[in-house]
Amino acid sequence: MKIDSPDKLNAWKEECLQKDAKLKKKVMVCFGPGCLAAGCREIYAKFEEILAERKLGDITLESFKKTGCHGLCEKGPLVVIEPEGIFYNRVRTSQVKDIVEKTLAKGEIIERLLYKNPKTKERVLKYHDIDFYKKQTRLALRNLGHIDPDNIEDYVMRDGYQSVAKVLTGMTPEEVIDEVKLSGIRGRGGGGFPAGRKWATCRGVESDVRYVICNGDEGDPGAFMDRSIMEGDPHSVLEGMIVASYAVGARDAYIYVREEYPLAVQHLYQAIDDAKEHGFLGENIMGTDFSLDIHISRGGGAFVCGESSALMKSVAGEVGEPRAKYIHSVVKGLWDKPTVLNNVETFANIPLIMNKGGDWFRSIGTEKSTGTKAFSLVGKVENTGLIEVPMGTTLREIIYDIGGGIKDGRKFKAVQTGGPSGGCLPEDKLDLPVDFDTLTKAGSMMGSGGMIVMDDHTCMVDVAKYFLKFLVDESCGKDVPCREGLYQLHKMVVKVTEGKASEADLQLMEHLSKYIIMGSLCGLGKSGPNPFLSTVRYFRDEYLAHIIDKKCPGGVCRDLIRFEINDKCTGCTACIAPCPVDAITGEKDKIHILDQEKCTKCGACYAVCQFDAIDII
């Protein structure tokens, strides 16, 4: 069925809503990245198996939906039962039968499957009463967890493709661009460049052909916002791209998806096929003379392929390597044609801006950073997962209210934002509002939305070492400052962790960093020294402790620590077996002895001791 007018779209939406209303209950099994890893496929299969044998009245297999990421990945696999919004977490296959027999058949709640508030230790019945969700505003992630991404009807039911109808039949490209400008939306992929301005420039360039590209490379380790959107709500990305293509005058558009995201590719292909079948893509969309095809391009596999010039080379089939851009890719991009490149999350916001207006969008967030931002919140917080908050929310709100505070009652030490080349912020920056400019000013950055929380068992020099290593490995190696400079900087940070560096080294590292930033060709090198610079800015004492006192205050750097058994030792013998080098000896009920000569400082004993009897010195 081709939808070629707004009326037809509305009629279809009505039909989908009615069909959905017939489902008395819906069981949403989360198929997001975290739940997939936790085994949701087995959960789903178990439901199918039970349903095949047992009739459940109105509830049929149609009531079961494989959805995108619900967000609370830490607690997966997740099963949400609508319309009540009953939220079951950490579901095991052995418990599926119970869910069917008790909750679905009789409406009974299974207490132990409910989410437990880490602070109050109380069980929470419903989805929206969980602190994790209460403080969020889900715009880009609006459909995640609520629809089956492979089912276009689910999408249409929730206002899908309304913006395409509105824009194509009632707005000029210039009006679309003005609305995007009005919304103030800035790119979500890292740079934070105003999308409206980018589109306007592209449209303004004299050319017979223009392109739109969606950046789904998401190379930041640990980040999964874009992946979750592409997997869980692929149509929203297509819809945003259709609007953008209409606005700038593109006939072909590309989605560049990271090689490691096969599920995203699969769902995007399905979505493109369905969109084509219903006339949202292809010739004469909405009965107008606007036509568009969206193609999928598989990533080159390297982090640097997410950089705009490298990405465009890669889409064109060349080696994905950055080039100097004194002529911007908006003017001369893919195949030298004017090209708009935006991030997945940026595109996912566009339909909302078109439907509700730029004014509505800019009423959310801060003046200069409008709307919301999705983050993947990971590290030492109680609730890790995928979140979305209005710009301007403080780090403290994110970490303590949504994240539920630091895990295991430990102390907060730092939060790293902005991906590998972002920066670490200390405790006294926790009340900073999260927006593009504030984070940059504080020496970190928004990046694409990675957020890693660290507790007091973290060594900041070690953190810098970790991220620098990532960047050294991912630098394409084209230019000298980035290739040789980051390599040497990493070597020197390693030297600090070994207690072999001097204060002069620290100065050399700061000097080198300055010229890596100034001299590098692309954003990777230009932000490459950040892991070092932000940690040395806020945790200089910790560097000096390594250098002068030859101590690692975080208790992490092996060359500078020693494990010692104190008199809290109960002689429980738990630590004897885990030690790989037999450095611990002792009899039951007597204080054990740790042989410093043998100890390799692996920390195995420390990890198993229940009595706080092992000190890191």
């Binding site: 084209k478 400052p481 070597k491 001299g519 590098s520």
Partner: protein, 263 residues
């Protein structure tokens, strides 16, 4: 159009890069990865200069001159404090990468760097990864060698690290390499380069071996060169022309003498 460099105005042509003007005017800016035979690349970062313009509202920026197109009234500074410091840092890093390269040692010492502050590369060779060799090879139409790997481990390599099937032994890469890193050897009538051996075409007159059969065939086929062009080497051709020319001159002399006699 005119551009200002270090306070003086110079003529520049549409389509040129700033480095082209610097080189033409003999203004000393180091540049290791740029060569007129190939497209600019921007890898060594030594050619960086500071630019500004009276219409830019005081904005200044540092750009690689090899890649920055000239525009009218562009104002260029080639030796600001920061740029000198950047070049020193780059040379310091290159000296760690190629501690044994005389070319790098010389350039570094011109910027006051005699020993590197960094950790020198183990088993260092003299390749600075400027990419000139691969680019010239591509430009010639052969694509025999390419850049492999990334980051610090990036290297110039042949396909599968074997003797490159598309190499014709033209030596363009050898000649363009700024640090003389690429080795080749001509022994008798064979040439060895990149682990591959080539038969050399012998001059039918003097017997000297100068060009590989593959390269000669390529040029004959693709560059509209007569099929027998490489049968005789340039030296012999030149001396042949000289001989013919001499004959011609002597013939005229002879005629003159005969005329004199007859007169």
């Amino acid at each position: 159009m005119k551009i200002q460099i270090n306070g003086r105005w110079y003529e520049a042509r549409e389509g040129e890069m700033v480095l082209d003007v610097l080189r033409r005017e003999g203004i000393d800016v180091p540049a290791l990865c740029a060569h007129e035979a190939v497209e600019p690349y921007g890898a060594c970062r030594l050619c960086m200069v500071e630019i500004t313009h009276e219409d830019w509202g005081g904005w200044k920026g540092n750009v690689t001159s090899c890649l920055y197109p000239v525009e009218d009234k562009l104002i260029v500074q080639t030796h600001t404090e920061d740029i000198i410091e950047l070049r020193k840092t780059v040379l310091n890093l290159l000296l760690a990468r190629c501690p044994n390269s005389p070319e790098i040692q010389k350039l570094a010492s011109e910027y006051g760097i005699d020993t590197t502050s960094f950790v020198p590369r183990e088993d260092a060779d003299n390749c600075i990864m400027c990419g000139l060799c691969t680019r010239v090879c591509t430009q010639m139409g052969f694509n025999a060698i390419s850049v492999a790997g990334r980051g610090y481990g990036r290297e110039i390599a042949t396909p599968l690290k074997e003797a490159p099937p598309d190499c014709v032994g033209c030596l363009a890469c050898v000649k363009i390499c700024p640090t003389h890193h690429i080795q080749y050897e001509d022994i008798g009538t064979t040439r060895e380069i990149w682990g591959r051996q080539f038969e050399l075409v012998k001059c039918k007159q003097c017997g000297k071996a100068l060009i590989t059969r593959e390269f000669a065939d390529y040029l004959i086929e693709n560059r509209d060169i007569p099929a027998d062009y490489f049968d005789i080497c340039d030296d012999c051709k030149r001396s042949g022309t000289a001989r013919d020319f001499k004959k011609l001159v002597h013939w005229e002399e002879k005629e003159e003498a005969e005329e004199e006699v007859s007169a």
